[in-house]
C-alpha cells in the first residue's frame, strides 16, 4: 500500500506539469527564403556610344541564336553578340565580339544587325564581318520601366537571395518595398527587352532566328514584343529603325514567330494570331488559349506547334506540346496535347519536329501525322542542356544552351550526327 501514494504523487506531479500551458505548447520557428529584386539603373552616357568590336571571347552565358547566310550570331546575355563564321559547321571560326551592353536579342537584314542596347535599338553594318561598323541608334525604342534623372533608366532587376524569419502560420506570399528593393518575382513579367526570329523561307538577305525570340523581321519591318505590346519599326529610310506603331496585346508576351503574312505571338495565357498583311498595322485575328505557361511557337503550313513549360518564370506545372490546327486563323483548334519533360524552343524541318527538352537535350519526332507527333519519337541529341534550336534546309541543326553551341547534321533525323561543339572561342 505504501507505493500507492508514490504513484499518486508522481501522477499529481505529472498532471500539474501537463496543466502548464507552456509544457504542451508546440513551438515553431520559420524562415522563408525568396528572391528579392534590386533595381538596376543605367545612365544614358554609359551605353549611348558607338558599339565596340572586340576580340573573340568565350561563351559564358549564351542566350539567343541567329543565322544569317554563313554567319552565326550568339547572344551573350546582357553583354553583346558573338559573330562566328559558320561556313564550315564542323569548324566554326569566330570573327569577334560586339560589345552591346544590355543586349539579349538580334535580327539581321541586308547585312545590318538590329540589336537591343537596353532601351535603345542599334544598327550595325556587317558587310565586312571582320570589321563591323556602327550605323545608327534609335533611342528609347523599347520602353523602360522608368527613367530617373539622376540614376538613369531602370533596365532590369537583379536577383538577391533573401532569408527572413516569419510566423509559422503567416501567409508567406507578399510583395513589398524595402529600401528601394522590390520583393517580388518579376521574372515572368521581367524587364528584358529581347528580340529576334525569322521563320524559314524568308528572303536571302534576312536571317533566321529561333522560336524563343522576341524580335523578328517580316515584310521590310522589324517587330519587337515586350511584355505587353508589339512594336513595329520601319527599316527603309535610315540605318536606324523608326518606330511607326505600337499594338497592345495583353500580358506575359514571350515570343514572336512570323509565317507568311501572319504573326504568331506566344504569351503566358495563349497564342495570339495577327494578320500582318498591312505591315504597319498588325491586326489580331484570334487567340488560342491554354494553361498559363511559357510557350514558344513554331508554325508550319496549317499546323502550329506550341510548347508549354513550367519553371520559376512560367508559374505553372504544365509541360506539354500542343498541336493546333490553324487552317481557320480566326478559330484555331487544338488537335492534341502531348506530355513533355520541360520543352523550350522548337523547330521543324521536313517531317521532323525538333524540341529542346532542357537537360534532356533535343528530342526528334516524326511529324507526318500531327495527331500522333508527340508519341512518335524517332531520334535525340543528348549530353547537353538545350534552350533553343534552328534547323536549316540542307540538314543542319544549330542548338544553343547552357553548355554552349552544338551543331548537328540532320540529313537523317533518326541518326543526327554531331558536327561541332562550341564553348571556347
Amino acid at each position: 500500500m505504501k507505493t500507492i501514494p508514490t504513484f499518486y504523487y508522481l501522477m499529481g506531479l505529472l498532471s500539474l506539469a501537463l496543466a502548464l500551458p507552456s509544457c504542451i505548447q508546440d513551438t515553431c520557428e520559420a524562415t522563408t527564403t525568396f528572391q528579392a529584386y534590386e533595381p538596376v539603373y543605367v545612365k544614358p552616357a554609359d551605353f549611348r556610344h558607338a558599339t565596340e568590336f572586340e576580340a573573340p571571347r568565350d561563351l559564358e552565358n549564351p542566350g539567343k541564336i541567329y543565322v544569317y547566310q554563313d554567319m552565326l550570331l550568339i547572344n551573350e546575355r546582357g553583354a553583346g553578340i558573338h559573330l562566328i563564321d559558320n561556313s564550315n559547321p564542323e569548324a566554326p571560326q569566330p570573327f569577334g565580339f560586339l560589345n552591346i551592353p544590355g543586349n539579349v536579342d538580334m535580327a539581321v537584314r541586308g547585312n545590318m544587325i538590329y540589336a537591343d542596347n537596353y532601351v535603345d535599338l542599334v544598327a550595325i553594318d556587317i558587310t565586312n564581318p571582320s570589321s563591323p561598323v556602327f550605323a545608327g541608334r534609335t533611342e528609347e525604342a523599347i520602353p523602360s520601366h522608368s527613367f530617373d534623372a539622376e540614376m538613369g533608366y531602370l533596365v532590369r532587376y537583379e536577383e538577391v537571395p533573401m532569408t527572413e524569419e516569419v510566423d509559422c502560420d503567416s501567409y508567406t506570399g507578399n510583395s513589398f518595398w524595402r529600401d528601394g528593393t522590390l520583393f517580388v518575382d518579376v521574372a515572368a513579367g521581367g524587364v528584358a527587352q529581347d528580340f529576334a526570329n525569322e521563320s524559314a523561307g524568308q528572303a536571302q538577305d534576312v536571317g533566321v532566328g529561333g522560336s524563343m525570340a522576341r524580335f523578328t523581321l517580316a515584310q521590310d519591318h522589324l517587330y519587337v514584343v515586350d511584355e505587353h505590346r508589339l512594336h513595329v519599326f520601319g527599316l527603309s529610310a535610315t540605318p536606324e529603325p523608326e518606330k511607326i506603331n505600337v499594338v497592345d496585346i495583353g500580358w506575359g508576351i514571350e515570343t514572336i514567330f512570323p509565317y507568311g503574312d501572319k504573326l504568331f505571338i506566344g504569351a503566358a495565357d495563349g497564342m495570339y494570331i495577327f494578320d500582318n498583311s498591312v505591315p504597319t498595322a498588325p491586326e489580331q485575328l484570334s487567340v488560342f488559349r491554354h494553361a498559363t505557361a511559357c510557350d514558344p511557337v513554331f508554325v508550319d503550313g496549317n499546323i502550329a506547334y506550341v510548347t508549354l513549360r513550367n519553371g520559376t518564370e512560367c508559374e505553372t506545372f504544365t509541360n506539354q506540346l500542343d498541336v493546333v490546327d490553324v487552317t481557320n486563323l480566326t478559330d484555331p483548334v487544338l488537335i492534341k496535347s502531348f506530355s513533355m519533360h520541360n520543352p523550350h524552343g522548337l523547330s521543324k524541318l521536313n517531317n521532323a519536329l525538333y524540341i529542346c527538352e532542357n537537360k534532356q537535350g533535343v528530342k526528334i519526332f516524326d511529324a507526318t501525322d500531327p495527331a500522333t507527333v508527340g508519341n512518335e519519337q524517332i531520334g535525340k541529341m543528348t549530353g547537353f542542356q538545350a534552350y533553343d534550336i534552328i534547323t536549316l534546309q540542307g540538314g543542319l541543326a544549330i542548338v544553343i544552351g547552357e553548355d554552349g553551341l552544338y551543331q548537328y547534321d540532320i540529313t537523317n533525323p533518326e541518326a543526327p550526327r554531331r558536327l561541332s561543339n562550341l564553348l571556347s572561342l
Partner: protein, 201 residues
C-alpha cells in the same frame, strides 16, 4: 468546442487512471511470480496540445517490446507512427530505446513509469499537393505513467498518461505570380500530452 471535449477527455482519463489502483486492491491476493521474459505492448492514443492558442490533436500508434530483467525493470525498444497535424509534413515514424520501471511491491494492477528516447523519422518527404519539398525528423522522446490491469493470464489492459516530444523540420514551396516563389522552412518542437490505451501480451 474542441477545447471542452479535450478537457473532459483528459479529466475522465485521469479519473480512470487514478481510481484503478483501488481496483487493484481486490486483486492483490493473486500474487504473481516474477519470471524474466519478453513482453509486447501495442498502444493507441491521442497527442493533445496547442499551437498558437489553437487546440491540436494528433494520434499515435506504437509497438513496444521489453525484456523484464528484474521485477522492477524492463528494457527494450519500440517503433510507432505519430501524426501531430493531419497534413503532409507532420507525421513521423519514431523508434526508441525504452526503459520501463515497475513497483516491485505491487501485485495485481501494476503502476509503471515508461521512458523512451529515440528518433522520429519523417513519414512524407515530398507532397506535390501541399508543396512539401522536404521533411526531416528529429529527437523523439516520451515519458508516461500508467497502469497495467490484468485481464487474464498474460494479457493486460494498459492505460497511461504521458508527455511526448518530437523535434522536426518541414520545408514548403510557395508559388505566386505576383509575390514570387518562396521556400519556407519550419522548425518544430511538438510538445503534447499523450493519452494512451493498449494491450500487453
Amino acid at each position: 468546442m474542441v477545447k471542452h471535449v479535450t478537457t473532459w477527455t483528459f479529466a475522465a482519463f485521469s479519473a480512470i487512471v487514478l481510481l484503478l489502483p483501488g481496483i487493484g486492491k481486490a486483486q492483490q491476493a493473486t500474487e504473481s511470480t516474477f519470471q524474466p521474459g519478453w513482453a509486447h505492448e501495442v498502444h493507441y492514443g491521442s497527442l493533445i496540445g496547442s499551437s498558437d492558442s489553437e487546440i491540436q490533436a494528433g494520434a499515435s500508434l506504437q509497438y513496444i517490446g521489453t525484456y523484464r530483467i528484474k521485477r522492477y525493470l524492463g528494457i527494450g525498444g519500440g517503433i510507432g507512427a505519430q501524426s501531430y497535424q493531419f497534413n503532409s509534413g507532420y507525421s513521423y515514424f519514431p523508434f526508441w530505446a525504452v526503459c520501463k520501471l515497475y513497483d516491485p511491491s505491487q501485485t495485481g494492477v501494476q503502476p509503471y513509469l515508461q521512458l523512451a528516447a529515440g528518433y522520429g523519422a519523417a513519414l512524407n518527404r515530398r507532397d506535390d499537393e501541399t508543396l512539401l519539398v522536404d521533411a526531416k525528423g528529429g529527437f523523439n522522446a516520451h515519458g508516461a505513467l500508467g497502469l497495467e490491469v490484468p485481464i487474464r493470464q498474460e494479457l493486460c489492459l494498459l492505460l497511461s498518461l504521458g508527455y511526448q516530444f518530437q523535434a522536426a523540420q518541414s520545408t514548403f514551396d510557395h508559388f505566386g505570380w505576383w509575390w514570387g516563389d518562396r521556400q519556407t522552412t519550419q522548425e518544430w518542437k511538438f510538445r503534447r500530452i499523450q493519452l494512451q490505451v493498449g494491450v500487453k501480451f
